[in-house]
Amino acid sequence: MAGVAFWTKALGSVFILCAGALGGNRMAAKLEKQLDELSRFELALLTLSNEISYSLSSLPKALVNAGHKVGGDTGTLFTLIGSLCGLEQRRTVEEGFRLALEQAEGLDLPGCVVEIMGSLVKNLGVWGSKEQVSFIDMALGETRNYRACVQEEYLKKARMYRSLGLLFALGIVIVLL
């Protein structure tokens, strides 16, 4: 009887520890994902800038190309915007962006990506190449600043989230035992 009680407690403890570790990991992974999407967004903006200044591709095509290049949720957003705007679709980039957000509800993007892209699209498509590249550079600068903040937060908190998850679980186990 005592043996069964012991094994039940042990199994419960293991379960709680795993759950705690998993919770901590998920919190850290969220930050990692944010960092990853921000890197993709940065690369997408760079690609867009290059497509505009060197290849002179049309903006819908440049957005689709950038989207395919970077992949991830950011890539999906770029591809969607590109395919929803332009002369053929009879939509401006801003309208394409709004529709893309409606169509892609499942995308997990950092709030700042949506925010920066939202203000960038207002200036995409109606300016000369120099001005267009300047607007993208401004967005790129904002993204880099934000990414630096997230990176710092990640370095500080990712390990902490993982350790805290485990410690929290350990605390519960001790209390329960």
Binding site: T92, W127, G128, S129, Q132
Partner: protein, 311 residues
């Protein structure tokens, strides 16, 4: 099945406008169906009423004042959201959109020290609706045949707005198909379209019917284009619009000396007027062009005043 003007406007032009302009224009067209069929231009000017250009007059829709946002939306769409990619084309003051319609632009011009200029802060757009008139040259072609059974090198003469370009375009189409009624065999036609008026290319592809055997050099200076086509496309006939200076005359002479026929248009009231201008006189007096068509708008654009030999 040819499209009606209302159909052209609904399919090609109105989707390029903001919804409020579309509504206002659609409403006007519904109220004036007969006038809608004759629309030639639609003008959007920031801060001013929408203007509909009709033959001989225009109509302002005072209830709709065009805003900067309306212009930006339309500009964004006509440039495929890629204003930057068309900056060089804007220097010419217009772009061609699908369907062959031409959009004229005006706004602030930035002049550079190197003599170049850039158009920015566009504040007005003028949509000129493309209209094809097929068959206008069909009954004239038999009179333009040379003794060897091919088309003769021909000069189309008229003042502006008398249908020179429409006539040239129809000639290109007929030459490409051939014309059995006068045993004219189909010919390889090369078009130097410096002002994108003959073929109205969009993305390098003709939007108007210039026949099945036409190669088009779009927005290329005539003198340069004629040389390029001669070397690269082996044409039977070269067609070009509005011959002007010495370079054009020399290029035409070079093509004709090489055995290629040239059909070109130039500004003038009649043959005497042409003879009073140095370069066209040089081409005519040396026998480079052997036939002429003189157009006027005495009975409406495309009135034929003279067809025949250049004496």
């Amino acid at each position: 099945m040819p499209r009606t003007m209302t159909g052209v406007l609904i399919q090609d032009i109105m989707p390029l406008f903001s919804s409020r302009i579309g509504k206002a224009l659609g409403g006007w067209m519904e109220r004036h169906p007969n006038q809608a069929e004759t629309i030639q231009e639609i003008r959007l000017r920031t801060g001013l009423p929408l203007c509909i250009g009709l033959p001989g007059h225009d109509h302002l829709i005072h209830s709709l004042v065009v805003s900067r946002a309306d212009i930006d939306k339309t500009l964004s769409l006509i440039t495929d959201c890629s204003y930057y990619a068309l900056e060089d084309e804007f220097k010419g003051g217009y772009i061609t959109i699908p369907g062959g319609h031409r959009v004229g632009l005006s706004g602030q011009v930035i002049a550079h020290a190197d003599g170049g200029h850039k158009l920015r802060l566009i504040s007005a757009l003028c949509f000129r609706i493309a209209r094809e008139v097929k068959g206008v040259a069909e009954h004239i072609v038999p009179k333009l045949m040379s003794s060897d059974g091919s088309i003769a090198s021909t000069l189309i003469i008229s003042p502006p707005g008398c249908g020179k370009t429409t006539f040239l375009r129809d000639l290109c189409r007929i030459l490409g198909h051939g014309l059995s009624s006068c045993s004219l065999r189909p010919a390889q036609v090369a078009i130097v379209d410096e002002r994108s008026e003959i073929a109205a290319c969009y993305g390098g592809v003709p939007q108007l019917d210039v026949g099945p055997r036409a190669d088009v050099l779009d927005r290329c200076p005539k003198a340069k284009g004629i040389g390029m086509l001669l070397r690269s496309m082996n044409p039977d006939v070269i067609v070009t619009d509005e011959l002007g200076g010495e370079d054009d005359a020399r290029a035409v002479a070079m093509a004709l000396s090489g055995g290629v026929k040239v059909i070109a248009s130039c500004h003038g009231r009649d043959l005497d007027d042409i003879r009073s201008k140095p370069y066209s006189e040089w081409l005519v007096s040396r026998g480079y062009f052997t036939k002429a068509v003189v157009l006027s708008k005495r009975h409406g654009p495309g009135t034929i005043e003279y067809v025949g030999d250049i004496m």
